[in-house]
Symmetry: D2
Subunit: 338 residues, 4 copies
């Protein structure tokens, strides 16, 4: 694992800059450039990283000699162009989750991957130690699954302020891939049917034409149930910008992960908040689940042995979430044909 | 409110004895008899109350002169016979929830009620101060509802040990009437569609032929969602025999009621339990939500002005839960025709 | 228990009006008058109760023929005058806690009680069902006590806004009588030594010359420890205006009561709050621990058999808290001579 | 930071083997040997590490050529001999906390350190991200401290089963150094006075002659209070083997860290437990606060810039805890002369 990895990041938003920072800090990788078109984001990237900023991956690849890997951190629906280009050039590729927001795009990306190239979808919750504990305990006991139940919700600040493209997405596309990936990773099963309902009154009335709130029920390949709730309508006075609660029910046990409760509660005259874990460790190095994930991608490309979420898995998740939206549109229980 | 109310209780199980004790303690009521056929329960009743115990309400009515009111506390599916008899005699009647487990039975009971007779279904959670607080806050602010989400589950001790008739019921019949009643009471809306899924592997394999776990999704008349989870499969090491968590999401707020967390946690060398509220107050009087409910029924019959869950409401709940079982059986989204 | 009790309330503040409302609602009692001098409070009392409002109990007793009982709800340090007058007239008397804020006053009140007169100190937490559950469990198991540990704190809104007389009190006088009473009631032991420390920087700098925060450690007569923390400095963004957490450690168990967590959490865009229990039940009657306590006092005077906190007990608590302040002043461990 | 560090570990118990494993896994260090006399521990060490096991550090230093650093993981009271030897040989040294259990030992170790040698005391909670978050928030806002309040307690399994030498220690020596270190690290202040009480009934009666439970109150150099509770008497049915709850109260905020609540709750038929974080990450590498601490010690010795708890700090903590035991013995408030 001695070769230095030259990495380009496509997308200079919050996530793109997080990826770039990890690449720059890792002793085994170099950030060779970032692709971004929006002026504000471009300026932020240039200031933070001192690397070339180009409008597209195609342009960047022309200007930069050595690129080994690409991290695609564009909006959810815009992964395909950069992803296909990267894979077709034989570059290792990490996709921000979900892989894509159409089955067609997802399959195209999966099929574009040449042999010997590393690729993964960034389902970062697998790097959360709490979920790792649950999975280890489940695997050790070999308990059959009855049901999983997850609520992953954001305050309305996310669709209104954080995301410029919320009207081109839904809480189901933005949040449920996390929950569904986790349900699959913990149980080893895959979704075979989905029924979903939604509410569409608050955001749409304010000009953001999307669902406020979606509830979905899956049958899994092992006969167990997975029920997921996600929305973009929580009040902004929540102690955290998101609320993630995950329950697993097996024949022998019940497991509860309160993801957003960091263990630290802070109260001031203006309210109660959960203090998230620090962004840096005692020596100033980045820390946290997405950071660990990005490091593992870098090391994977450099020869490490690490199990990561594959593009095949990404296709399955996208197929299930697309079917979910068909259920929302038709009111029918939908068979998921992977 | 000076007339003394003479009350008969049909059913001498746990609930029947609870009702009988409240009637005996209330200064305005007298317990005139209990109907019970099982020898053990009959003996327990006779010892606790020192009142006549008969095999049926018909028999009791023959032997006891003055009966003003009847409390029907037989198993869920066995309310009709005693209920019709009581109502046809013009007696005030309180039914243990749900009113019935078929729409036919429920409607027959509703239609049997003569004018001027008081009747109610015992949805006791309305007497829980926590839910009263939520309802008062919701009514004050007039917030539109987006979604409600409730998990009400029992440990497997309930179907295996507590109930003799669990194989003739389901977690949906035994538990979801509580959750659905509360969702209706808080929102003022009624269910119009239901989709449900279930798992049926653990209890059935042990000879109790029923669902282990049911998930249901309702559309309500105001367009909001209600998702309910209930099961009889929680591990017996839970801090309480049930787990009841209820969430309300509106345009303006999020409300969470952790019903089973009484505020007291007790740990010993054998484990952690929640200490429920005491059965008696400082002066030895019974206390708790079902006690308050029973007292309000007694006072209602004696002229008090109190809003209680009506038989019409009971028919609606039974209709919705019956439709839910049709969805479980067919895999279809079912229209609820009330 | 048929005689109607005629009750006067001394003090027309928040607590005085609470007592008055319970007296007026109780079917066995009549509110005959309220004593209050402050114009705003007098007006509020007059509007709420339509009873005579006088400047003092002496004046009220002159104008009102039949008075059977008095409730003393003046500020903590001002109980003696009205209390001695009431007791010397042979009137049943309920004192807001603490009985007094000097041992001299407390003893004078205790000694003023004629035989046959009912008296009590309003340690209302004994009417909290959670504490009743803990006490019942402890008594059942007969476990020896090792330690009790309580934090009862208010936000700084209490000394700054709610109380007009905070500079004449301390968090130790205002809050610790609750905790110490509970520790004594649960364990059956009494305090024999106290050591205390305090911080005095924030409120004093703002012109409220009192302690911000006090920590006290008691040895009890059974050799167990009681450590109490109270303060008036919590940030106002707390989910509740107070924070009360009580732990009991015995040889066999650990008990935790989270008093301020009502079971209902409400979040809006402006923050997270705990919704307290409703002030009224479904039929509009007052409810809650202080209401139950007041009713028990009324019924006690009318012949009911109920165990209430005695004036002797009140003297013990006042003696202990006075010793605590001596420890604060001297930095010494103080023997409590009761 | 390229030089390889050769490390010896003194003590082959639970902690010694943890340190050894981290040393062996770190790419920049080599475990050169372990010192242990107990046959069972020696065998466990030999099996796990395949390195020389010797009875003492003196013996090991004779047999092993290159030793750069020593980790002292003997029982708390037995740090001096190996520590002085290591420091006098100019070896970098990490001490398990506390540095020593007498001021004399602690000072001797501090004074034995030659210039240029790295040394530290293993106060591992500083490597817990939750505490790092609190510290960062406190430093950012610069809030003055009013009080800190910590309960760190073990179940009685720890003194009865886990530790062979519990009768030679106390909960104050074993647990309070963690809490006091944290209070000092967060506030930047030092303890100047201590008053303590204890209970000594349960363990002593069972032949383990030590305190069951200790409560201590410190005045800090900035005038703030620190109250610490520790014991070895919690029931073994706790969800975790320890209970660590830390509160910070400042002029502007209240911070609460629930250290033992890992975020994962597991319930089975035998009870409720908190699932601790996994011992290994996704790639099989060790993880957790003590692991990070050990790595930072290794890197410190190899030239990294990292702020660690010094031996001077270790002397201060030992001095304070020794004073605490003097307060326990005398019932007096003790001045801490550092």
């Amino acid at each position: 694992m001695t070769d230095r990895l030259h990495v380009a990041v496509v997308g200079g938003g919050i996530r793109g800059r997080m990826y770039g920072a990890v690449v720059q800090e890792h002793p085994g990788s170099t950030l060779v450039g970032v692709c971004e078109t929006a002026p504000a984001a471009s300026a932020a990237v240039a200031e933070q990283f001192a690397v070339p900023v180009r409008a597209s991956l195609a342009e960047l690849l022309e200007h930069v000699d050595a690129v080994d890997a690409v991290i695609v951190a564009t909006p959810d629906f815009a992964h395909r162009e950069a992803g296909e280009l990267a894979l077709s050039h034989g570059l290792h590729t990490l996709f921000e989750k979900p892989l894509a927001t159409t089955v067609e795009d997802a399959r195209a990306l999966r099929d574009a991957r040449p042999a010997g190239v590393h690729s993964m979808v960034g389902f970062e919750n697998r790097w959360n130690p709490s979920f790792q504990s649950v999975r280890a305990a489940l695997h050790e006991s070999g308990e059959a699954f009855l049901a999983q139940r997850a609520a992953l919700q954001d305050t309305h600040w996310v669709p209104r302020e954080m995301l410029a493209w919320s009207s081109r997405s839904t809480p189901a596309w933005f949040l449920m891939p996390h929950s569904l990936d986790m349900a699959m990773w913990l149980s080893g099963s895959t979704p075979v049917e989905v029924f979903a309902r939604g509410v569409r009154t608050v955001l749409a009335a304010d000009g953001i034409d999307t669902w406020d709130r979606v509830s979905a029920s899956f049958v899994m390949s092992d006969g167990s149930l997975v029920t997921l709730d996600s929305g973009w309508a929580l009040p902004t006075g929540r102690p955290a910008v998101f609320d993630f609660r995950f329950e697993v029910e097996t024949r022998a046990g019940h497991y509860l992960v309160d993801v957003d409760r960091s263990g630290v509660t802070r109260v001031t005259d203006t309210g109660l908040t959960y203090l998230g874990p620090p962004e840096h460790d005692l020596r100033g190095r980045l820390r946290g689940a997405p950071v660990e994930m990005t490091r593992d991608f870098i090391d994977l490309c450099r020869g490490a042995d690490v199990d990561v979420p594959s593009l095949d898995h990404g296709v399955t998740v996208t197929t299930a979430i697309e079917a979910l939206h068909r259920s929302l549109a038709t009111g029918q229980n939908i068979r998921i044909d992977d």
